[in-house]
Symmetry: C2
Subunit: 137 residues, 2 copies
């Protein structure tokens, strides 16, 4: 049997990649690339935005990071959390972001969709917008 170690290249452990994962793991909310770049600077790590985009792309392919979309044109990134799939509560006033896990998630709805529309759901985006506890006052 041939050695197939080289068929799937292994990503290298570089300072930027490490720092990127550390930043994402220490932040509770999904970050834009701008926010990530700023966080890298704060850690005295200089990185080009192209590099950040490419690292995020690679981390995404390795299921370490997922993309999140809110109501603006920025893509946000957070650590992938397969076990506790969650959504977000985005405050329209103070922009705070909380995680929320729906009791039954949407699997039931997705099964209904498959049955009624013959549409096989592979992914969904669900985000809530409104007012957080503080901003309701």
């Amino acid at each position: 049997m041939p050695n197939n170690k080289k068929i799937i290249p292994k990503e290298r452990v570089t300072p930027i990649r490490t720092a990127l994962l550390e930043i994402l793991s220490k932040t509770k909310k999904p970050l834009t690339t701008q926010e990530i770049l700023t966080a890298l600077l704060k850690k005295k790590i200089s990185a080009n935005k192209t590099t950040v985009y490419r690292q995020l792309e690679s981390l995404k392919e390795n299921h370490l990071v997922t993309e999140v979309y809110f109501n603006d044109r920025n893509t946000r990134y957070e650590l992938e959390d397969e076990k506790t799939h969650h959504h977000h509560l985005v405050c329209l006033k103070c922009k705070k972001v909380e995680d929320v896990t729906l009791p039954e998630d949407l699997h039931h709805q997705e099964k209904l969709v498959l049955k009624k529309n013959k549409f096989k759901v592979l992914q969904h985006f669900l985000e809530f917008f409104g007012l957080c506890k503080n901003c309701q006052k």
Copy 2:
């Protein structure tokens, strides 16, 4: 009692505004501004993209049109349909878009969120991505 007609300015009925509403009403799926511009051209109506953006903004404020976000950086527009609030099934292969109305929508979930997180949900985005009937073959 003073005449207050001028306090809330009434939008003018212009050819572009009319054509825009006609295009949106005859299309089943949410359209990008590019697609709208193309559709206007097909109707022999020349319009600047700035004008289209401003008309869409105005229609949005008048609750005639809503924005829809999929998984790319384009904002899409469709006629607002307050009665039958719906979501979309976006085929990742052929890009077809179907409307779907969830049996219980998310009002129940939103009430739970208010109770548990003290977060007042004003709006939500929910879109499904997957394979349509044809593309599953």
